[in-house]
């Protein structure tokens, strides 16, 4: 075998290895989703979505948990989106590039990797106890905001960094101030990337369980929250609760709730992909 053949062989080998690895993930995901669908799809009907929780599996619905998740999602968006984007833009555009900023950058990336239960403990101490918010939706949303802030900041910075310097130069050269340049050029140009990052971060927040359990989200709440100070449950906790029950009916309920939760995250990720493609087209 000469060296060209050898290289070609290696090329092929790597290709098949790549295909095998891709399939591994896809096959597992298919099996998992298939299994869940078989268990739960028949359980889903309108009543399942609008019913309050009950001790009887067949009468139980996800209404309170779904509403709790929506509350959490909306509040977390309101809190984390402006703070995260502003922080990201600040660090990239205004922050001086020195050792302190390098340290900050590393730490923000590290924060994105901190186990979520740690954030739960922080939330419990700061929001629930010190700030006296109790086990409320607001405390939960604040905790999740902390959790996803690093993700939003990193995504924002990446998106802002990707805006070519030539565009900023052009804006400055026409007499635009720094803020005008950021608002009129940098943010619109990086909007797709920022939005994608935010949506992906939020879809992670929707699936979080551990920090909310620590903060005090309940497995059983009789009614959906009507204001940010009320107690709440969310879909993942509801699922966790049902799965730990012995009756088969609850397992079915859990599978059905998982389908709803997956649907929510898939839709959110889909929206993120849509925005990303739309913005990329604009740049070409």
């Amino acid at each position: 075998m000469n060296s060209i053949q050898k290289n070609r062989f290696k090329d092929q080998l790597f290709k098949f290895w790549g295909i095998a690895c891709t399939l591994f993930g896809l096959v597992l995901l298919t099996i998992f989703i298939g299994d869940i669908l078989i268990d739960g799809i028949l359980r889903i009907d309108w009543a399942f979505i609008t019913d309050l929780p009950s001790r009887k599996a067949e009468k139980s619905g996800i209404y309170t948990a779904l509403m709790g998740s929506i509350w959490i999602l909306v509040l977390t968006t309101i809190i984390a989106f402006p703070i995260g984007v502003a922080a990201g833009v600040y660090l990239e555009e205004y922050g001086k590039k020195n050792k302190l900023s390098a340290l900050l950058e590393i730490n923000i990336s590290n924060l994105a990797g901190v186990p979520s239960i740690i954030y739960g403990l922080l939330g419990l101490e700061v929001f629930v106890r010190i700030m006296g918010l109790g086990a409320s939706v607001l405390a939960g949303a604040l905790t999740l905001s902390l959790l996803i802030l690093p993700i939003i900041i990193v995504a924002t910075r990446e998106a802002v960094k990707a805006v070519p310097k030539s565009i900023r130069d052009a804006s400055y050269a026409l007499g635009a101030s720094k803020w005008q340049t950021i608002w009129n050029q940098v943010i619109p140009a990086s909007g797709g990337g920022i939005l994608t990052g935010v949506i992906l971060a939020l879809s992670r927040a929707v699936g979080e369980t551990a920090p909310l359990i620590v903060v005090g989200a309940l497995a059983y709440v009789p009614f959906a929250p009507s204001n940010p100070m009320e107690e709440f449950s969310v879909l993942p906790i509801q699922i966790f609760n049902w799965i730990s029950r012995p009756q088969h009916g609850f397992i079915e309920n859990a599978a059905a709730a998982i389908i709803i939760l997956l649907l929510i995250t898939f839709i959110m990720n889909g929206i993120a992909v849509y925005f990303r493609n739309k913005w990329q087209k604009k740049w070409k």
């Binding site: 030539s166 130069d169 052009a170 804006s171 050269a173 026409l174 007499g175 635009a176 740049w283 070409k284």
Partner: protein, 276 residues
């Protein structure tokens, strides 16, 4: 007279002063006095005196890394955002030092426009590109903006090609059209000085010729300073030429003189292509 009385330290500055004396027969619009620039520890500009007259085209030539682009970007303070940038000396625009603390940089840049090496239109429509400079000034009068946009596009010799597609994305234009759009965008703000940093280096010969014609026409109303690597271009379009080498102004004179009878051997070597 003030200029010729600046301290004479060595032979180099005598020569430089002589060059200035030639250039300052009339009222100078831009006066540069002992300008030095550092990027951190690296000294990019090593003390330059110069004065540039209104309604002329001045070409900056010299090998890559000689500091001519850095020097050009001093006039609209575009180096301000560069990390490690430090500057000494005075640059006076119509008698006012533009590096004084109180100077409003945004106002300065409305007066001193800039066209860059690579065409850099905003990812917006043709109209929005030209109107941007006006809109950021807070101008909302639509009729006024429309008129200015049309005027600027006509001045930049682009109007005929785009008048029916003003809403089209600027990124759909060809490279040459994009560069003329960038010129139109600069003209819309009505500056008095236009800085051009190798504006044709990314363009084909036909687009280059169009831009050169344009520069020739614009000379009546604007003072133009152009950095170029193209000797023929400098010879064709400029009234004055300044030759830079490693952060120093070696020679500055009428373009004709520089190209036919340069004073310094170094200049002659560069122009005839023997180095650089």
């Amino acid at each position: 007279m003030e200029i010729t009385m600046t301290k004479v330290k060595d032979k180099k500055s005598i020569d430089t002063n002589k060059a200035i004396a030639i250039a300052s027969e009339e009222v100078a619009k831009i006066e540069i006095k002992d300008v030095k620039v550092w990027y951190d520890d690296f000294m990019a500009i090593k003390g330059i005196d110069m004065s540039i007259k209104p309604n002329t085209v001045t070409a900056f030539i010299g090998p890559s890394g000689c500091g001519k682009s850095t020097f050009l970007r001093l006039f609209n303070r575009m180096n301000d955002y560069v990390d490690g940038f430090k500057m000494e000396g005075k640059i006076k625009l119509n008698g006012k030092n533009i590096y004084k603390n109180k100077v409003n940089v945004e106002e300065l840049r409305k007066q001193v426009g800039m066209v860059f090496q690579k065409p850099n239109p905003f990812p917006k429509s043709i109209f929005e590109n030209v109107a941007y400079g006006l809109k950021i000034q807070g101008i909302k009068d639509k009729k006024f903006i429309n008129e200015r946009v049309e005027k600027a596009l006509k001045q930049a010799d682009l109007w005929e090609e785009v008048k029916d597609n003003l809403k089209k994305s600027a990124l759909a234009l060809s490279g040459g059209q994009q560069q003329r759009l960038c010129i139109a965008r600069t003209l819309a703000v009505e500056p008095s000085i236009i800085l051009m940093d190798e504006p044709t280096s990314a363009l084909d010969p036909i687009s280059t010729a169009k831009i050169e014609d344009l520069i020739f026409e614009l000379k009546d109303k604007y003072t133009i300073i152009i950095v170029t690597h193209n000797m023929q271009q400098a010879g064709r379009i400029s009234d004055y030429t300044a030759f830079f080498y490693i952060g120093e102004l070696i020679e500055f004179d009428k373009t004709k003189t520089i190209f036919t009878n340069p004073e310094k051997q170094q200049t002659e070597n560069y122009i005839t292509g023997r180095f650089g």
